[in-house]
Symmetry: C2
Subunit: 272 residues, 2 copies
């Protein structure tokens, strides 16, 4: 069995992880030898990197792990993008196990299976798989009568003061990406979308979302905010977006950080 | 409370659903009056259609409902596309409740909340939300030395004889859409993708996936199949695809049915 071989490989590495927080050195994740791992962790198989098996540690007592915690936020900004992606996958997997210790079908305790990519129920035989929630995140664009294009950015409830970003929301059962974008824009801002264009996607490990970035063409620029989610929204020109992305202190808003796909959307729109 | 008002609305309608199977008449779903509903069902709120509240029935005893069942397959082909989308959302929601009767965090029984868009745990207070699994489905394209383009279609294990479709697989934690497409193509067919273009998306209610359709540009046309998933794969030209989509009896393969996004991908590629 390939998994047994991977666990027995003396070169195998285990991610240094304190609950969900990584140790970062020189822009890279820190790893230990799997053979030095404590007895009270279950290694979850992340895959082979340069033919060497890599694992993440799931503590036996994982009941206090909260996938929504952002305590690693500062560390994340220090990681190179390939390292951040590797961490995102490991973090989502550990957080999924921590939140899924019981069988949703029958209530029994479940156990890690398939190296961590499954949990099995010994009672009802149900198999459970890691969850990834698709989320749409979008810039509405409107071209004014004078020909100048603007996009809508909003201040989410709980954002730092001045920070503005793209609007976002979970894809619901029965929706396409395009339908989810149109529904969210209408629910959060009263905007009707004419057309939706996909731009890019990104995993987002708080706890385990797939962010799907789009630009939507708005029928008009009248905004009716659902202030329970977004307490301010403004239409901004390319000049304003450019100043915000440059970190200009006098810019009309504070741009999203480099790790956020909202920033990618703003850069894409500015360039396009 | 808006939900109480919706449930009390005498015009409210309840989807005719036998476990997960709809009743179809004249290309449309059949609905009953909510006030005539049996006492042993919980109505799940689907939304307002023309200002009239619409619900789907969750039976008290839902333990035997299996979201993977395809017993409605024939009925689905009779529905107009807006009706199929409405059914897809209702079906996914009912199937999610049936599979999530216990709290994955603590094992206690959970209860329907927020009109069916949440389940709450009375013991540990965890809140659970409907699950939608992002799945990538893709055509690999390769342009031969003579300039002729071909796409790769495969016969999945368990497909009807002759049926060929796009390859597909679940997006894993820590992956973007583009990374998932590249990984799946490599795992299933040994194909390395140079570039991935998003084409379209579609909800797929067996039980609750978001199908994300892409075209990937393959580095070369050497195929190494993982025959546990796909037991045959062939490169096909526009001429072959055109014949298959036309239902030509002598076509090299049987095209996917109109409700499948794989067919949309083939149509898109043929037109592009």
């Amino acid at each position: 069995m390939r998994l047994a071989a991977a666990r027995g490989d003396r070169r195998a590495r285990l991610l240094a992880l304190d609950a969900l927080d990584p140790t970062v050195a020189g822009g890279a994740l820190v790893w230990h030898a799997l053979i030095d791992a404590a007895a009270d962790i279950e290694p979850l198989f992340l895959g082979l990197i340069d033919d060497i098996p890599h694992f993440a540690p799931l503590p036996d007592d994982c009941s206090s792990i909260d996938g929504r915690s952002r305590s690693c936020w500062a560390a994340l900004g220090l990681l190179a993008s390939d390292q951040a992606a590797l961490y995102a996958g490991a973090r989502s997997l550990v957080a999924w196990h921590a939140s899924q210790r019981f069988c949703a079908s029958c209530g029994s305790q479940t156990a890690v299976a398939k190296g961590g990519w499954q949990r099995d129920c010994p009672a009802c035989r149900a198999e459970h798989f890691p969850r990834t929630d698709p989320v749409v995140i979008m810039l509405a664009e409107h071209v004014a009568a004078d020909g100048e294009a603007r996009v809508l950015v909003g201040h989410g409830v709980g954002f730092p003061p001045g920070r503005m970003s793209a609007l976002a929301g979970f894809v619901e059962p029965g929706e396409s990406i395009e339908e989810a974008v149109a529904r969210e824009l209408f629910e959060e801002a009263g905007i009707r979308a004419r057309r939706v264009d996909y731009v890019a996607s990104q995993p987002w490990p708080f706890p385990s979302s797939l962010m799907i970035g789009c630009i939507a063409h708005a029928e008009d620029d009248r905004v009716t905010l659902d202030t329970s989610e977004v307490d301010e929204a403004i239409w901004v020109t390319r000049g304003v977006v450019s100043a915000a992305l440059a970190g200009d202190g006098s810019a009309r808003f504070l741009a999203p950080p480099p790790i956020a796909i909202a920033r990618t959307l703003l850069e894409h729109w500015l360039a396009g």
